[in-house]
C-alpha cells in the first residue's frame, strides 16, 4: 500500500507531502502530511491517509486537512490530524477531538538528580501507584459531589488549587490557565458526571502513563534553562492522561446529537464517526460548551495528579516539594477543538485574520514566541510542547514557532504514533517479560497487568525522535531536550 500512496502523494519538500483534492471526489481542500520519505512507508500501511482525505470533506475546512508525522489510523479523524473550520459556515465534529477530551500532558520538574532519586525509586513509584489509581475503573482520592463536579467543569485546575491541591502559580503554567472560558456544565449530561465523577485524580489505561524521567540530552540550553530543566541528569515527572469517563460520555452523547444534526443540515460524510454540526448551530454551540467543560475536568484531573506526585516525592524523599522546586513546567491538551484567531496567508505577519475552530486530534498546540495566550515566562521562547515517546526510550520537550502559526494553525505532533496493533505487539513479544527487560535497563515499572506491557512496548511505537526531527527540520517546533524514563506507572 505504501508504494501506492507514494504515487498519489506529491512531494512538496523533504518534510511535506500533498494529498491532492482530486484523490477523492468530495474533498473540499487537499491534504498536507508532514513526514520524511522513510516514514511514509509506515504511515501508508493502514487507513490513516484515507482518513486525512475523509476529514477534507468537512464543510468550512480551510487550507488543508493536515497530518503530523505521528499520524496513525484513528476512528473518523486520523490520530495526529489537524483541521480548522471557518466559524461562519464551518462545522465542529466530536470525532475531531476524540473520546478522551483534553487528553494531554503535564511536566513537573524537580531539582533532584538521578543519583538523589535512584535509591528511593521503587518506593517512590509504588507510592505514586498507590495514590494515583491506574487501569480499568478506579476511583481517585478526591470524592466530589455532582455539585462539586459542576464547579470543576467551570474552574478546571483552579478548583483543585482552591481546595488545597497545588500551588496558585501552577495555573500560570497550564494552557488557558487550566480553565478554558465558555464551559457550560448544564450541557454535560448527568450520566457523564456520574461516570467521570469518581475518576477524578486517576490515570486510566491504554497509552496513559506517569513516568519519572531523567533529562539525558539538551538541544537548546537557553530554552531548557528558562523551563527550569537546564541540567542533564535532572529528574522530572511526565504525566499523560485526560478527562476519563466524563469526557468519553460527553463525546458519546454528542455523537448521538451530531448523527441527527448531520441529517438535519444535510451534511454528507464518508464515515459516520465524522458526524458534525455547523459551529453556529445550537447543536454545535452545545457541544463546544460541553467539550470545553470536559477539557476543564481534564486540567483538574492532571492538577490533582501533580499534587499527589508532589506528596509522594515529599514523603519518600523526605523533603518539602517547594524545596525540590517541583513546579509545573507546562500542561497542554492534544485532543481538543478551540476557537482561535489565525491569519490565512503563508506569512503569518500579513494577510487576512480569520476566526476558525481548530480541531487537534492527537496534535499539540505550538504557539510562537510573543503570542498573547502563552505564559509570560515563555513569551520570548514560545509555548512549550510536551511530547511523550514510549516507555522504553524517551520523551521530548519542544517549543512552538512562527512557522507553525503560519502553516499548521499553531500545531505540532503529540507523540510517537503506534506502528503495531496491540495484537501484533503481543504476538511479536510472546514469551518476553517486558517489565524484566525494562528492569535490566534500570527502568522500574508498576502496572495493573504486567502481561499487557508488551502492548505498550517500544516495538509498538515509532521512534519519537524521528517524529520530532521532521517537525524540527520543517520549522514547526524546535527541539529543547530529551528525557529517558527510570520509573513508569501504567494502567
Amino acid at each position: 500500500m505504501a508504494t501506492t500512496w507514494k504515487k498519489t502523494l506529491q512531494k512538496i519538500d523533504d518534510w511535506r507531502w500533498l494529498l491532492p483534492k482530486e484523490y477523492k471526489p468530495g474533498m473540499l481542500v487537499p491534504g498536507l502530511i508532514f513526514s520524511s520519505e522513510e516514514m511514509l512507508d509506515v504511515i501508508g500501511q493502514d487507513q490513516a491517509i484515507e482518513q486525512v482525505a475523509n476529514v477534507a470533506f468537512l464543510p468550512g475546512i480551510v487550507k488543508y486537512s493536515m497530518a503530523m508525522p505521528d499520524i496513525h489510523w484513528g476512528y473518523g479523524f486520523p490520530i495526529g490530524g489537524v483541521a480548522a473550520m471557518r466559524v461562519e459556515d464551518g462545522v465542529i465534529s466530536p470525532g475531531g477531538v476524540g473520546f478522551d477530551i483534553n487528553c494531554g500532558t503535564r511536566v513537573i520538574r524537580t531539582n533532584l538528580s538521578e543519583e538523589d532519586v535512584r535509591p528511593h525509586l521503587k518506593e517512590l513509584v509504588n507510592q505514586v501507584f498507590r495514590d494515583i489509581p491506574a487501569g480499568v475503573g478506579g476511583s481517585g482520592l478526591v470524592k466530589a459531589s455532582i455539585k462539586e463536579i459542576d464547579e470543576v467543569l467551570v474552574k478546571g485546575a483552579r478548583w483543585a488549587v482552591e481546595h488545597g491541591y497545588g500551588w496558585p502559580e501552577d495555573l500560570e503554567a497550564i494552557e488557558g490557565g487550566g480553565a478554558l472560558p465558555g464551559a457550560n456544565p448544564d450541557k454535560v449530561s448527568h450520566r457523564a458526571k456520574q461516570r467521570g465523577g469518581p475518576q477524578l485524580g486517576t490515570l486510566g489505561s491504554g497509552n496513559h502513563f506517569l513516568e519519572v524521567q531523567v533529562i539525558d540530552q539538551i538541544f537548546d540550553a537557553e530554552a531548557a534553562e528558562t523551563m527550569g530543566m537546564g541540567s542533564v541528569g535532572q529528574v522530572i515527572v511526565f504525566v499523560h492522561c485526560g478527562s476519563r469517563g466524563l469526557g468519553h460520555q460527553t463525546c458519546q452523547d454528542y455523537l448521538d446529537v451530531m448523527e441527527e444534526s448531520s441529517r438535519k443540515y444535510d451534511i454528507r460524510l464518508p464515515d459516520r464517526q465524522l458526524a458534525c454540526a455547523p459551529i453556529s448551530s445550537r447543536e454545535g454551540q452545545d457541544y463546544l460548551s460541553a467539550m470545553t467543560a470536559a477539557a476543564n475536568f481534564a486540567f483538574c484531573n492532571r492538577q490533582l495528579i501533580a499534587h499527589w506526585v508532589r506528596q509522594a516525592f515529599g514523603r519518600i524523599i523526605g523533603r518539602d516539594p517547594k524545596d525540590m522546586d517541583m513546579h509545573i513546567v507546562y500542561d497542554v491538551a492534544h485532543n481538543i477543538a478551540k476557537i482561535e484567531r489565525h491569519r490565512v496567508n503563508a506569512d503569518a505577519r500579513s494577510g487576512r485574520e480569520v476566526t476558525v475552530c481548530v480541531h487537534r486530534k492527537g496534535a499539540t498546540r505550538a504557539f510562537p514566541p510573543g503570542h498573547p495566550d502563552i505564559p509570560a515566562k515563555y513569551k520570548a521562547l514560545g509555548q512549550p510542547v510536551l511530547v511523550p515517546g514510549d516507555m522504553g526510550r524517551y520523551s521530548y520537550i519542544a517549543v512552538g514557532s512562527e512557522q507553525a502559526m503560519a502553516e499548521t494553525w499553531g500545531s505540532t505532533c503529540h507523540g510517537a504514533g503506534r506502528v503495531q496493533s496491540r495484537g501484533a505487539a503481543k504476538r511479536m513479544l510472546k514469551g518476553v517479560d517486558v517489565a524484566q527487560r525494562l528492569a535490566d535497563r534500570g527502568i522500574y515499572v508498576r502496572a495493573q497487568n504486567r502481561g499487557l506491557l508488551a502492548e505498550e512496548a517500544s516495538e509498538a511505537y515509532k521512534d519519537v525522535a524521528t517524529v520530532i526531527d521532521v517537525l524540527h527540520e520543517a520549522g514547526i517546533s524546535r527541539r529543547v531536550c530529551r528525557m529517558r524514563p527510570i520509573g513508569v506507572v501504567k494502567g
Partner: protein, 143 residues
C-alpha cells in the same frame, strides 16, 4: 456432520485501538456476544461472578445505533459503579428498541484479572448485517 460453528467473537487488529467481529445465529446472540467480547477485552471474565443485575432499556435508529448504545450503556456502569459483567440476556429487540439484562459484580482488584480499559464504542467501521443464515457485527473500540 455439522460444521463447527464460528467463534462468537474475534479480535480485529487496528493500529491504535481494538475491534471485534461478532457472530451469532440470531441478532440477540450478536448483542450478547458483543457484550461478552467487550468485557473479555477488559477482564478475565471467567473470574467475574454474576451476582448483581443491571437492566438496560434503550432506543436507537437502527441495529448499528442500538449496538453502540447497548455497549456504551455497559461502559457507563463500569465507570460509574465499577461493574464488570459476564452474563447477558436480551429480553426484547426490535429495530428501534432493546431491553436487556446484564449480570456481574463490582471490581475487586485482588480477585479480578484486569486487562486494558475500553474508553468508548466508536462508529468507525461499524456494521451489523445478515451473513447467510446467521448475523455478523463489527465494532471498533477506543482504547
Amino acid at each position: 456432520m455439522t460444521e463447527p460453528s464460528p467463534p462468537p467473537f474475534e479480535v480485529i487488529d487496528h493500529t491504535a485501538d481494538v475491534g471485534l467481529v461478532v457472530r451469532g445465529a440470531s441478532l440477540e446472540d450478536v448483542f450478547v456476544n458483543a457484550a461478552t467480547g467487550m468485557f473479555s477485552l477488559m477482564v478475565e471474565v471467567s473470574g467475574v461472578r454474576d451476582t448483581e443485575e443491571r437492566r438496560v432499556e434503550l432506543e436507537g435508529h437502527d441495529w448499528e445505533d442500538l449496538l453502540v448504545r447497548w455497549l456504551s450503556e455497559l461502559l457507563y456502569y463500569l465507570d460509574a459503579e465499577e461493574m464488570l459483567f459476564r452474563r447477558f440476556e436480551v429480553k426484547s429487540l426490535s429495530p428501534h428498541r432493546l431491553a436487556a439484562s446484564a449480570w456481574g459484580e463490582r471490581i475487586d482488584r485482588d480477585r479480578h484479572e484486569l486487562h486494558f480499559g475500553v474508553k468508548a464504542v466508536t462508529r468507525h467501521m461499524l456494521e451489523v448485517r445478515r451473513e447467510d443464515s446467521a448475523w455478523r457485527a463489527q465494532v471498533l473500540f477506543d482504547i
